[in-house]
């Protein structure tokens, strides 16, 4: 079983559109949306949810005000600025800032602090017309997105093994931080979708450095490539110099957002040079995976 993750560094370059196309073009794969923070793949794949799981992770402190003696010991020790002094001198926890380290819990002389494990998200196993999909929803303003990504990936591998599916396709999240790292580790290929803008180029460089840091092989495609041919050339040169294959160039195409509005993978919405290019990219990607 091989695993590919679609990433970009910069947001909005076309990760989800590309992942949905790959889902539609693939045979015998399992799909995962590992952008648990702002997941969108379900809007193109229309999953029927078969299993729902609660995601509990991390701790949050809570002060039992009946026990708190307003001694103030905990207040200066919280490094996350999560403890606020009330008007009566008692400590109150701002749950948005609390990272659940438990320092206040350990230092409280009267055991007035309780640590709770809150529900911080949900994850789902679903059926789509393209194969099984595992996806998730992190609670609003929550942390531990990396752990939720790990949870989703565990389930995806389990399904792939059980159903003897040979490929896992994962739609990743923007950035280079903890959820991206959690989605990269142990994959066979990171497929980077970039665009010919200064941000696209800069963010691609950082995400490829990150992938190489974890010894993950990379390949890329340039979306909206005709928006700025000079920058597209720069991206190709940058990739060539590092032997990173550029598998294709998708034109700036109004049909793409139209396909998103209709909720259909682009390759099933239109037949044009753009979708032909994506089919070509997909074939090259499979060749690369088997080489």
């Amino acid at each position: 079983m091989k695993q590919i993750v679609v990433i970009s560094g910069k947001g909005g370059t076309g990760k989800t559109v590309m992942s949905a196309c790959f889902a539609a073009l693939s045979r015998n794969s399992v799909l995962a949306d590992v952008d648990v923070d702002a997941s969108n793949l379900h809007l193109l794949l229309h999953p029927e949810i078969r299993e729902r799981h609660v995601f509990k992770s991390g701790l949050k402190a809570r002060v039992n005000l009946a026990k708190c003696t307003a001694c103030g010991v905990c207040l200066p020790l919280c490094r996350f600025e999560a403890l606020v002094e009330d008007s009566d001198g008692k400590a109150r926890v701002n749950p948005l800032s609390c990272e659940g380290c438990g320092v206040c819990f350990h230092v409280c002389p009267v055991q007035a602090v309780e640590l709770e494990t809150p529900v911080s998200g949900e994850w789902y196993v679903s059926e789509t017309k393209y194969g099984p999909l595992v996806h998730a929803r992190l609670g609003i303003a929550e942390e531990n997105s990396g752990k939720l990504v790990t949870e989703v990936r565990k389930k995806v591998r389990e399904i792939a093994e059980r159903e003897r599916r040979d490929l896992v396709i994962m739609d990743g999240s923007p950035g280079i931080g903890c959820p991206v790292i959690a989605s990269l580790t142990g994959t066979d290929l990171a497929f980077v979708v970039t665009e010919p803008t200064p941000s696209g180029l800069h963010d691609m460089e950082r995400i490829i450095q990150l992938a190489h840091h974890f010894k993950i092989r990379t390949a890329c495609c340039i979306n909206k490539h005709d928006l700025n041919l000079e920058n597209s050339g720069r991206i190709e040169n940058w990739c060539d110099a590092r032997s990173i294959p550029v598998l294709g160039e998708v034109p700036f195409e109004v049909d793409i957002p139209k396909s998103v509005v209709r909720g259909i993978p682009y390759v099933e919405y239109a037949e044009n040079p753009g979708t032909q290019e994506i089919r070509k990219i997909w074939r090259s990607l499979l060749d690369l995976l088997s080489s």
Binding site: K10, D37, L43, G102, H106, A141, P174, G175, P179, L227
Partner: protein, 282 residues
């Protein structure tokens, strides 16, 4: 006044809106700009600031003094992040899991732990004309951006007109960036992705008790912005500005230019946007 610009979905035009707003205000206001998207800082391509100062940012991680350690296991027991493991005659530290809370150092009965700095990135400052500029840049390979964002935000000057470019998403880095703002501007686009993530971003702002308003970018895309407007009306979130879909704007962006450089008339619209935010905050 502190205005943060967020979106949920990436690539909707946060940076374009934030920079255009700053440039529209620079003659009449003392503007400070913070690029809090420390994983992928992009504002510099548009504001083109001169960087004068770079500060390396460290987070504390434990270092065990094995000559004082009796391997009692207390540190591993109190670490909520499993960043320490105590074996029979050694203590393993996993700095990538450490949140720098200081619990192990504080609670070690033998005082055998001290903290050393682990580099996570830099905070850079400078100016673009009259606009004071600050950005964070997370080192590639570092997982946790909130500590860097916290250091960056310590430099925020609330007496100025502060504009914060937030990262995409709705989780901890966004919360850290938007926290303390007087107003949160949410930039969206009229696609199912844009609307879905706007709903999440609006819920985040509500959770944080920060008033928000919406900018609809690429408003003429697809079937138009009807559904976004319906959502905003139902949630009583004002739509403060719309920007049409125009390939020229996308091309300008690809050259590192904001809307203002392609369509100077937008300056008035951004001033109106600021005025309507100001009225809502006061």
């Amino acid at each position: 006044m502190i205005i943060s610009v967020a979106s949920g979905k990436g690539g909707t035009g946060k940076t374009t809106v934030a920079v255009s707003l700053a440039l529209s205000l620079k003659e009449t206001h003392s503007v400070q700009f913070l690029d809090c998207d420390v994983e992928e800082p992009n504002v510099l391509f548009f504001l083109k600031p001169q960087i004068n100062e770079s500060l390396t940012v460290f987070t504390p991680t434990p270092k065990i003094d094995e000559s004082h350690c009796n391997y009692c296991g207390k540190c591993a027991q109190v670490c909520a992040y499993h960043a320490l493991a105590v074996l029979q005659d050694t203590v393993l530290v996993f700095p990538e899991l450490c949140h720098g809370c200081g619990g192990c150092t504080l609670l070690c009965p033998e005082r055998a732990i001290k903290e050393i700095g682990k580099r996570i990135g830099v905070v850079e400052s400078g100016h673009a004309g009259k606009v004071a500029f600050l950005q964070g840049r997370l080192d590639v390979g570092q997982a946790m951006s909130p500590p860097l964002i916290r250091v960056l935000k310590k430099r925020l000057n609330p007496r100025r007109t502060v504009i914060i470019d937030a990262p995409p998403g709705t989780s901890c880095p966004v919360v850290e960036s938007v926290k303390g703002s007087d107003f949160c501007l949410l930039v969206t686009e009229p696609t199912p992705f844009g609307l879905h993530d706007l709903e999440l971003a609006a819920a985040t702002a509500r959770e944080m008790d920060i008033p928000c308003g919406v900018v609809i970018n690429r408003a003429s895309l697809g079937n138009g912005d009807g559904k976004v407007r319906d959502f905003c009306a139902a949630e009583e979130i004002p739509v403060l500005m719309t920007i049409p879909f125009d390939r020229k704007i996308a091309e300008a962006y690809s050259r590192g230019q904001t809307i203002l450089e392609t369509f100077p008339a937008y300056r008035e619209k951004f001033l109106d946007l600021f005025e309507s935010i100001r009225k809502r905050v006061s």
